[in-house]
C-alpha cells in the first residue's frame, strides 16, 4: 500500500471516519442535551449491525442483494438503533435525570453490559463472531493508484446524507430550534412551552438511528459482527467527539474524520500503535485543549 500517508490510506481513513462520525453524532447530541456520556451508545451500534444482519436474511427471500435490499436493511437497522435508544432512555436514564450525574453513568454501563452479554447469551446470536453478508455486490474502481470500492462511496454517501439531513433539522426546523433551546437551558426551554422530555427522547431516537446506520455500514465494510463489536468503535467515536468539542455537531464530524485517518495511517505504520492512537489523541487533547476544537470553554455557575 505504499507509504503511511498514501492516498489509499486517506481513502480508507475517510471511510472509517464516516462510520465514526455517525456514532460520534449520537454521543455529542446526547451529551449536548442531557450532559450524559451514554456508554451504551456503542452497543446501539452493535444492535444496528445485528438488526441489519437479521433483516438481510428476512428480505433476501424476496429480493436479491442490491440497492433495493440495502435500502430496506438500512431503514430497519436505523429503526432498531432508534428503538433501543429510546427504550434505554425511557427505562434506564429518565428516572435518574435529576439524581447525581454519576448514577446515570453507572446505569449506562449497566445497560451496555446488559446488551453485550444478553446478545451473547441468546443462543440464536451467541458470543462468536459472524460473517456479515454482502448486502450490496462489491465492485472495485481504480483511480490512478487508489482502489476504491463502491462500499467507500456508499459509506460516505449515507453518512453525508444523514449529516446534511441532521443539519437541516437542527438549523431550519422548529424541532431543531427546540433542541438547541433545550441544550442551552432546560428550565428556560420548559418555560417557553417546549416539551423537554419529548425533545430528549427525540435526541436519543436520532442518535440511535445514526448508530444503527453505522452498524450496517460497519458490517458491510468490515464483514464480521459480534456482540462486543460496539465497545471499541464506541470509545473511539466518543474520543472523536471530545476531540471536536463535545456537544458540537460539526466538531463531532471533523473529529471523527481526523480519528479515522489517524487510525488507518497509524495502523499502516504499526498495528499496536493503530490500536492505541485514539487514546494518545485523547490524552493529548485533554492536556492541551480539553474543550476540543470547536468546544467553548464553559465556566461553572455558582
Amino acid at each position: 500500500m505504499g507509504s503511511i500517508f498514501s492516498p489509499q490510506q486517506i481513502v480508507n481513513g475517510l471511510q472509517l471516519g464516516a462510520i465514526y462520525a455517525l456514532i460520534a453524532l449520537g454521543y455529542t447530541m446526547v451529551y449536548g442535551i442531557v450532559r450524559l456520556i451514554n456508554f451504551a451508545h456503542g452497543d446501539f451500534f452493535m444492535v444496528g449491525a445485528y438488526a441489519a444482519f437479521g433483516s438481510f436474511f428476512m428480505f433476501n427471500f424476496f429480493l436479491p442483494p442490491g440497492n433495493g435490499l440495502a435500502f430496506i436493511v438500512l431503514i430497519l437497522a436505523m429503526a432498531a438503533g432508534a428503538a433501543i435508544a429510546v427504550i434505554t432512555d425511557h427505562f434506564a436514564y429518565k428516572p435518574l435525570r435529576y439524581k447525581p450525574k454519576l448514577s446515570s453513568l453507572v446505569t449506562a454501563i449497566g445497560v451496555s453490559m446488559l446488551l453485550e452479554y444478553l446478545f451473547s447469551a441468546i443462543p440464536a446470536i451467541g458470543p462468536s463472531p459472524r460473517g456479515f453478508p454482502e448486502v450490496l455486490p462489491k465492485k472495485m474502481f481504480h483511480f490512478a493508484h487508489v482502489e476504491i470500492s463502491n462500499y467507500v462511496i456508499v459509506d460516505l454517501a449515507v453518512a453525508g446524507a444523514l449529516m446534511i439531513g441532521l443539519t437541516f433539522l437542527i438549523q431550519r426546523t422548529a424541532l431543531g430550534r427546540a433542541m438547541r433551546a433545550v441544550s442551552q437551558d432546560k428550565d428556560a426551554a420548559k418555560l417557553m412551552g417546549i416539551n423537554v422530555d419529548r425533545i430528549i427522547s427525540l435526541t436519543f431516537l436520532i442518535g440511535g438511528a445514526f448508530a444503527g446506520a453505522a452498524g450496517l455500514l460497519a458490517g458491510l465494510t468490515y464483514p464480521r459482527i459480534q456482540p462486543y463489536m460496539g465497545i471499541l468503535p464506541g470509545l473511539k467515536a466518543f474520543i472523536a467527539a471530545v476531540l471536536g468539542g463535545i456537544g458540537s455537531i460539526p466538531g463531532a464530524v471533523l473529529g471523527a474524520f481526523i480519528m479515522g485517518i489517524a487510525e488507518t495511517c497509524a495502523t499502516a505504520y504499526n498495528s499496536l500503535l493503530g490500536e492505541g492512537i485514539a487514546f494518545v489523541i485523547l490524552i493529548v487533547v485533554l492536556l492541551i485543549r480539553p474543550s476540543g476544537i470547536f468546544g467553548e470553554k464553559t465556566a461553572d455557575k455558582i
Partner: protein, 331 residues
C-alpha cells in the same frame, strides 16, 4: 497496635482469621472453599480500593483491573526471575513481599500517568481514559512475548496463602479506613460532594483527586500481585473490562463510600459468581438447558441497573459498620 481505637477491627479480623483457619484445618472448609475465600479477600482489596476512587473521592474509574494487571505482571515477573536467579530459595518470602510491593508501586505510577492529565478536568473524562487504559494494557500485554503474550505469564510461584492474602486484605482495609477518616479523607469527601465548593474553601482538588487515584491504583496492583501468585498465572483476559465491571458492581451494590458495603459485596458477589457458575453448569450438563456462562453477567448487569434505579446509594448507603469507625476522644 495497643491503640484502643483499632481494637474492635483487630478483634474482628482475628476472629475471622481464626475461624476460617480452624474450619480449614478440621476439614470443614475444603480446598475449593478456601480458594473462593482467598478470591473473596482479593476482591475485598479491589473493591475497597476502587471505593476510595469512585465512592470517597467521587471520581469514576472503569479500568481498575488494568492496574491489577500491572501489579500481577510486574510482581509475577519479579518472583519468577528471582526463582531462576536464586535456586536455593533462601529469602524467597522476602522476595515475594518485595515483589508484591514493587507491583503496587508500578501500578500507582501507571495510575499517576493516567490520572494526572484526566483528573485536572472535571467529570466523566476519567471514565473514558481509564476504560481505554484497561484496553491498552490488555493489548500491550498481548503483544509482549517476554511475559507470554496471549498465552499469559505462566509458572508464577505459588506464594499467596490464606494467611498472606488475609494480612494484605486486612492491611488494605485498615490503611484505607485510616485515610478516609483523616483530614485527607475529609478533603476527598468534600470533592465528591461539591468540587467547586471545596475548591473555593481552599482544598487542592487536583492533588487530592490524583492522590486518591494513585492510592487506589497501588492497592489494585497489590491485589493483582496476590491474585497472580494465587492462580500461578497472569493472563490478559483476566484483567479485561469484564473484570473491572465486576469490581465496579461490587462497589455500587455495596454502597458508594461505604467500606463495609464493599467488603460485604466483595464476599457475596464472589460467592454468588461461583454459585451461578455451578448452577449454570448443572443446568447445561444435567438438565440439558442450552445456557452459557454469559447469563452470569446478564444477571449482574440487571442487578446493577436495578440497584441504580431503585436504591441509588447501594445496599449500605453511606453507612459504615461500627467496627470500621475510628472513635474520637470525647470532649
Amino acid at each position: 497496635m495497643g491503640n484502643l481505637k483499632h481494637m474492635k477491627l483487630v478483634m474482628a479480623g482475628l476472629i475471622f482469621y481464626v475461624v476460617v483457619q480452624v474450619l480449614s484445618l478440621t476439614g470443614v472448609l475444603n480446598g475449593y472453599f478456601m480458594v473462593i475465600i482467598n478470591r473473596s479477600l482479593i476482591a475485598v482489596i479491589f473493591a475497597v480500593s476502587l471505593n476510595l476512587i469512585n465512592g470517597i473521592t467521587g471520581q469514576f474509574s472503569l479500568g481498575h483491573m488494568g492496574f491489577a494487571a500491572v501489579g500481577a505482571y510486574v510482581s509475577g515477573t519479579f518472583t519468577t526471575l528471582l526463582f531462576h536467579l536464586n535456586p536455593h530459595h533462601s529469602l524467597d518470602y522476602l522476595g515475594f513481599l518485595a515483589a508484591i510491593l514493587v507491583g503496587g508501586v508500578a501500578a500507582s505510577v501507571a495510575g499517576f500517568l493516567i490520572g494526572f492529565p484526566s483528573l485536572r478536568l472535571k467529570g466523566d473524562y476519567l471514565a473514558i481514559v481509564t476504560l481505554g487504559f484497561g484496553e491498552i494494557i490488555r493489548t500491550i500485554l498481548n503483544n509482549i512475548p517476554y511475559v507470554g503474550g496471549p498465552r499469559g505469564l505462566l509458572g508464577i510461584p505459588k506464594f499467596s496463602t490464606f494467611t498472606v492474602i488475609f494480612l494484605f486484605a486486612f492491611g488494605t482495609i485498615v490503611l484505607i479506613r485510616n485515610l478516609v477518616q483523616s483530614s485527607i479523607g475529609r478533603s476527598m469527601l468534600s470533592i465528591r460532594e461539591n468540587e467547586l465548593a471545596s475548591e473555593l474553601v481552599g482544598v487542592d482538588t487536583t492533588r487530592y483527586k490524583v492522590l486518591g487515584f494513585v492510592v487506589g491504583a497501588f492497592f489494585a496492583g497489590i491485589g493483582g500481585g496476590l491474585l497472580g501468585h494465587l492462580l500461578q498465572i497472569a493472563h490478559p483476559t483476566q484483567y479485561g473490562f469484564y473484570a473491572s465491571a465486576l469490581i465496579l458492581i461490587m462497589v455500587y451494590v455495596g454502597g458508594i463510600g461505604s467500606l463495609t458495603g464493599s467488603i460485604i459485596a466483595a464476599f457475596s458477589l464472589t460467592f454468588l459468581t461461583e454459585g451461578l457458575r455451578v448452577g449454570i453448569d448443572w443446568l447445561r450438563d444435567t438438565a440439558g438447558v442450552p445456557i452459557g456462562t454469559e447469563w452470569t453477567m446478564v444477571i449482574y448487569a440487571v442487578l446493577l441497573i436495578l440497584i441504580m434505579l431503585f436504591r441509588t446509594e447501594g445496599l449500605m448507603g453511606m453507612r459504615e459498620s461500627k467496627i470500621l469507625i475510628i472513635k474520637e476522644k470525647q470532649g
